[in-house]
């Protein structure tokens, strides 16, 4: 492997920085460098997460005591909608997409991301439309909005935002398809890159369906307002995008990061790696298949045996299949830990926390369609979505910690990050698990006031509020920690984690690309190199 380094006079202190010509601001505004675009996505989506989580904390506080209102009554429904749509499209999807845009080209030995200007367009389109989306809510738009123009603005801005995310996803997927290093078979791609391909393809196949529906909502809102039940009906039309099974699409990268970090933590090759890659593929099939089917109600009484079998098959695909990838990755990852020399790092704690929450989300989804349990339409569905969204957020923070050396050239302090990972796990459990119980007690979905609020239900709502508040503090602390570390923290070596994939052959931060990564003979090229050199020095790197 050889590395082409950019000439020193063309470099500044940061990767991809532009030293001549445009200034710093213009450099960032016009950049087509994938690491910069990824960092912009990560930074803005982490900031967005703080706003969304504060709204979530206020909304859950509203549910603790009837009559004790912190928010104007007529804005609660709109804020609830903003929180869920924000969690999906202003936080989780762009955070994970940004990491993929930054990391995937480095992982697969590509010179750049495919269509770099499209990737830049994706970020700026997302940022501007995201700002307009929030503004439309402020102007009394969105679902349940009272201002017709602002409602239309909501529809248009969300269409543009979805288009921007789809463009970004397409650049990631195209990069994995066409820009892999010579010899790197698609099955030999690093698990995170493979998951990025699956996840991006799933986004490309599902988000435009939402955009199409929004286009019809826009037409309806602009003229007759007779098709979708006015502004109140919009929530029902777009709500599927933040609920099971669409949330599985957003969670595929949870599995990808976990599959990436298990063998790194175990410091060995992943046993039965093909099965792990297959598991990630199953996650894509299950997610897209589930979205196409929609959430099915499992009603088995009063129908013929053939129909029972048919419904069970659909139920198996849409509800049971999403559990399987988590079990495969966690099970075979555990096998790697048994056979290897485990070293638990902060990114690993984040990743396994995210994966456990993703598994919890998938497991809760198993019960939702069973009609006898009457869980659909209760906060049980909120619990499931929260498991997956917050699990994905933890995954995103783990990915930032893991690839921080490659993106910023600095290490995030391990102990502090590990502590925040544990705190994030606790917060996610508190924010989700009580609603599983409250769902069985028939607390309705999305409502802030209803029925008797005492006993176990009130305790559940208090715990959820604490969970949301705790996660807000965790993300805030993580953002500050990362900011401090990346502004002037400890400089990172080329390979601080004993990585196994190509990006760890580059210096931190990478001063260029692997011009000639050589013929990639296996999924773990760096382990091959160590074996060839007869060394297992974790700091080896910087080219061979």
């Amino acid at each position: 492997m050889t590395i082409t380094e950019t000439r020193p006079e063309e470099l500044t202190s940061e990767p991809g920085a532009v030293s001549a010509g445009p200034g710093v601001v213009a450099g960032w505004l016009t950049t087509a460098d994938h690491t910069r675009i990824g960092r912009l996505f990560v930074g803005v989506s982490l900031l967005s997460s703080l706003g969304v989580l504060v709204i979530g904390t206020l909304l859950t506080a509203e549910r603790v005591q009837p009559g004790s209102r912190y928010l104007p009554a007529d804005t609660v429904d709109q804020l609830t909608s903003l929180m869920w749509i924000g969690l999906a499209f202003l936080v989780v999807v762009p955070l994970l997409l940004g990491i993929a845009i930054a990391v995937v080209p480095l992982q697969i030995g590509a010179r750049s991301i495919a269509f770099p200007r499209a990737a830049a367009l994706s970020f700026w389109g997302w940022l501007l439309s995201g700002g307009v989306l929030v503004a439309s809510y402020i102007a009394n738009g969105g679902p349940f909005g009272g201002n017709a123009e602002a409602v239309r603005l909501f529809a248009v801005s969300l269409i543009v935002l979805l288009a921007a995310l789809v463009v970004g996803a397409a650049t990631v997927a195209a990069t994995v398809v066409i820009s892999r290093a010579p010899g790197m078979d698609i099955m030999d791609a690093p698990p995170f890159s493979f998951a990025a391909l699956v996840s991006s393809s799933a986004l490309v196949l599902t988000l435009p369906a939402l955009a199409g529906r929004l286009a019809l909502i826009y037409v309806d809102q602009s003229y007759a307002r007779i098709v979708f039940g006015g502004t109140k009906g919009i929530s029902g039309q777009v709500g599927w995008a933040v609920l099971q099974p669409q949330t599985y699409v957003y969670g595929i990268l949870i599995i990808g990061l976990m599959a990436e970090l298990f063998p790194v933590a175990a410091r060995t090759r992943q046993p039965m790696r093909g099965v792990v890659i297959g598991g990630i593929g199953i996650a894509g099939v299950a997610a897209v298949g589930g979205v196409m089917q929609g959430m099915q109600t499992l009603e088995l009484s009063g129908v013929t045996p053939i129909i029972v079998i048919g419904r069970l098959v659909v139920y198996g695909i849409t509800e049971l299949l999403p559990v399987l990838p988590f079990l495969i990755v966690l099970g075979l990852g555990g096998l790697a830990m048994r056979t290897g020399r485990p070293r638990v790092s902060a990114p690993f704690v984040f990743a396994i926390s995210g994966a456990l929450m993703g598994l919890a989300g998938a497991l809760t989804g198993v019960l939702t369609p069973i009609s006898e349990l009457a869980l659909a339409g209760t906060v049980y569905q909120e619990a499931q979505a929260t498991f997956l969204f917050f699990g994905a957020l933890l995954t995103g923070m783990g990915a930032v910690t893991y690839w921080g050396p490659k993106l910023w050239g600095r290490m995030v302090p391990e102990k502090a990050a590990g502590g925040l990972a544990v705190l994030g796990l606790l917060a996610t459990v508190l924010a989700s698990m009580p609603y599983v119980l409250a769902g069985f007690l028939n607390q309705p979905y999305g409502a802030v006031t209803w029925g008797p609020l005492d006993g176990p239900i009130q305790a559940c709502n208090v715990l959820v509020m604490i969970g949301f508040g705790l996660l807000t503090l965790t993300v805030l602390a993580f953002a500050l920690l990362v900011l401090r570390a990346f502004m002037g923290g400890e400089r990172a070596g080329a390979d601080p984690w004993d990585g196994q994939t190509l990006e760890w052959a580059l210096p931190s931060p990478p001063l260029g690309t692997l011009a000639d990564p050589g013929w990639i003979m296996s999924p773990e090229p760096l382990l091959d190199r160590q074996a060839a050199l007869g060394t297992s020095d974790s700091t080896a790197g910087g080219g061979a």
Partner: protein
């Protein structure tokens, strides 16, 4: 003088073709969303009419779907798709003039489809506010018109690049991508035709 053999040509990456394929996948998903929403809302209206004991028809009373221009439009879109494929075939044969001619015909058929859609609107003669059918009909067909205009712009750009010598028999990616998009348009219209004009 001895010379080293020429280095092997770098493997082509098919970037434009792969990018267009993802774009087409996104477009197909968008049309699935549009047509799926149309069908769901239509069914709700029909169910409501059935329960109320009224005549079950999604089309408002007195409105007749203009079938002939819609059917001709389907044939025109199929021809446009065939022309796009001919452009790829001609380029592979090294016939650059035929390629440009085929792309030009594709644009012409596209313009024909545009004209037929306007004819459908004029023959239908219903306002977008008049009924649920009208709102959804104009939403779905309007989205197709936008996709068609994008396809025509794509064709014009491809024609200019082809005439400028950008493509060759060994590098057909750009024209392949253009053809792929027009095949998508044809399939999207076929689905729209069945759902909106036949199924009504």
């Amino acid at each position: 003088m001895l010379a080293l053999p020429a280095a092997p040509a770098p493997e082509r990456k098919h970037s434009l073709l792969v990018g267009t394929a993802f774009g087409v996948a996104a477009g197909a998903a968008a049309f699935s969303g549009l047509l799926g929403t149309y069908l769901v809302e239509r069914q709700q209206v029909l169910d409501a009419l059935g329960q109320a004991g009224k005549p079950v028809s999604f089309l408002p009373r007195g409105v007749v779907m203009p079938g002939i221009p819609a059917n001709i439009m389907l044939v025109v879109m199929v021809f446009a798709s065939v022309m796009a494929r001919w452009a790829v075939y001609a380029l592979r044969q090294g016939e650059r003039r035929h390629t440009a001619f085929a792309i030009g015909l594709t644009v012409l058929f596209g313009a024909g489809a545009l004209n037929l859609q306007v004819a459908v609107y004029r023959a239908l003669d219903v306002g977008v506010r008049s009924s649920q059918f009208a709102t959804l009909f104009y939403g779905v067909t309007g989205a197709f018109l936008i996709a068609l205009l994008v396809g025509m712009a794509f064709a014009v750009i491809t024609a200019f690049r082809s005439l400028g010598g950008r493509y060759a028999a060994t590098d057909t990616d750009g024209v392949e991508a253009f053809a792929l998009y027009w095949h998508f348009l044809t399939v999207a219209f076929a689905a729209t035709w069945f759902v909106v004009y036949v199924n009504k």
